[in-house]
Amino acid sequence: MANLFGRVPIGLRSAVNEGAFTRLTLILIAVVFLALFLIMPLILVFVEALRQGAGAYFEALKDPDALSAMRLTLTVAVIAVPFNIVFGLAASWAIAKFDFRGKNLLISLIDLPFSVSPVISGLVWVLLFGSHSVLSPWLQAHDIQILFALPGLVLATMFVTFPFVARELIPLMQEQGTTDEEAALSLGASGLQTFWHVTLPNVRWALVYGVLLCTARAIGEFGAVSVVSGHIRGQTNTMPLHVEILYNEYSFVGAFAVASVLALLALVTLGIKAVLEWRYGNQLASGHRR
């Protein structure tokens, strides 16, 4: 399969033997599309952010509410991503290395957050922890605030991002099979040793790749966190939420300044991703060698 996307075998060459005109048109469409939908908006973000000069730009970023939004977003990511690493590793390990009943069901369940609207991903937590939920009296009795506070934001983010790590690891682990582990075990390694010295090194780049995507989504998530945030200024507004608020307040420089930080984070992610694909492409799952 990988060959279709990467190197074109000789026998298939006729399949892409289009005329120069067709090829040019297709390339042009792709380039125009990219420019229109990706590059232009990206440039616009920075143009708008710097419209009133670098001074206003940095002033907007130094605003206490903006700083708190950045801090909160990073805190949420720092908590949610490790949970997803553990979960992703466990799930993909179980799925790729073992056979058990309901395996396909588990795979579908892992994909669920991809197909569910983020608003629903937020609302499930409201139903679970809201004042009218079954859990509510217990939470109140113990003075535990989940919704409209950090725990709610973390939960919503975890839910939305949890397929990312597992989805990267499962195809790769399936491709690698269990022979390495079997060899290690037959040579006398313990289960944990096998995991640390065989399984984990085999998938490390795919794992990093998955963590990267997971982090990017965790930082950028809007819908689910919007539902559980409560929008308390300087307390529960993440960066994407803060951008919307500033924009609605006609504070365009502020909105685009914070948006530019998000864009920068996305660009850094993209850069690392490109390096990973270029450098370690053969160690990522074949589905990603495009």
């Binding site: 009218h132 003075d143 535990i144 950090l150 939960l155 308390i232 609605n248 307040e249 006609y250």
Partner: protein
């Protein structure tokens, strides 16, 4: 599943870190709606000073803003607001019904039906008023494009329709004539956005339409933020009085130990100094007699009808005008 176990563990850990409150540092959460941001930013600073002088305590007021209905929903779901300052009485009624954290007669707790400030619907037109729009009659002239959101989805848009209706009923004397009038008006609406902010964007940013039906405070703010050289406000001869409501969510305040400060916070909105601040933020003060007339000059003079006396309250007006098969459904036929 172990996810839930870890989630609860995490929540417990965070809860322990977050909960202890210091005696002299009071936190107050004000859950409000969208256009009050600037007002409360200033008012909170003022109130903190007053409270410090009076009691020596430092009060930090946290703000949450969003669509009024959505905010009410959040409070019902557990956002632990000490005070709510929302757009509609009905939204606070919902909180009272849904949580029982405030009494059913909360509206009598403060003067003027618990409305320290009011606003009304005015017209925003392009600079110089090129279409010579003076009053509601001008909006039904052929060729005039009116921008207003869909009253089915936007709370604000309902006031727009009711204001037009009240004007026509007063002028032409019958409900049939009023219905006909709003029918003509909505035929002049090229885009029916889902929310007030969407309509403002359509009018201001995309440059569509000749007149925007807008909240007076929002119209002033748009002019201030986007340039006095681009737009101006036209005040019609008659419009509708909107009374945003405020209330202490007693149940929450009690469990936070903030009842006294929450009450003082809202009562203080009625003092002359606060009423002036309110006027400076383009809301009409509910006690205009206490405010310097120079500040009040910005508000055009007009006759105001209100929901309670002229429409029998929202409980009656809502189904009559905006329910299925109601007046809006009868007069609005998309695509005409």
């Amino acid at each position: 599943m172990n996810i839930r176990a870890t989630a609860v563990a995490l929540a417990v850990a965070l809860g322990l870190v977050a909960s202890p409150a210091l005696a002299k540092n009071i936190k107050l959460l004000n859950v409000s709606y969208d256009p009050t941001r600037e007002l409360y930013k200033d008012y909170n600073a003022e109130f903190a000073k007053i409270w410090k002088a009076k009691t020596g305590d430092t009060v930090t007021i946290e703000q949450s803003h969003g669509g009024s209905g959505k905010q009410a929903r959040a409070v019902i779901d557990g956002l632990s607001a000490d005070v709510v300052t929302l757009a509609l009485e009905g939204d606070i009624d919902e909180i009272a019904k849904g949580t029982r954290k405030l009494p059913a007669n909360w509206v009598q707790a403060l003067p003027n039906h618990s409305s320290p400030y009011t606003s009304t619907i005015v017209f925003l037109v392009r600079k110089g008023n090129p279409r010579k729009i003076k009053d509601w009659d001008d909006l039904i002239r052929p060729g005039i494009e009116v921008i207003t959101p869909n009253p089915k989805t936007s709370g604000g848009a309902r006031w727009n329709l009711l204001a037009a209706y009240a004007y026509a009923q007063k002028k032409y004397g019958s409900e049939a004539a009023a219905k006909d009038f709003v029918g003509k008006l909505y035929r002049n609406v090229p885009v029916l956005d889902t929310g007030a902010r969407g309509s403002t964007t359509t009018f201001v940013q995309r440059g569509i339409g000749h007149v925007l039906l807008a909240w007076e405070n929002e119209a002033f703010l748009a002019i201030e933020e986007l340039g006095p050289d681009k737009f101006e406000i036209v005040t019609p001869t008659l419009s509708i009085l909107a009374e945003p409501s405020v209330a202490v969510v007693e149940g929450n305040a009690k469990s936070h130990g903030t009842t006294a400060v929450a009450k003082a916070y809202l009562e203080n909105l009625y003092t002359p100094a606060s009423q002036k601040l309110i006027a400076e933020h383009y809301y009409r003060p509910s006690r205009p007699d206490t405010v310097d007339p120079a500040v009040l000059k910005r508000f055009g003079k007009l006759e105001l009808v209100n929901i309670r006396d002229d429409f029998g309250g929202w409980a009656k007006a809502q189904p009559k005008f905006f329910g299925d098969g109601g007046i809006f459904d009868q007069i609005y036929k998309p695509g005409r």
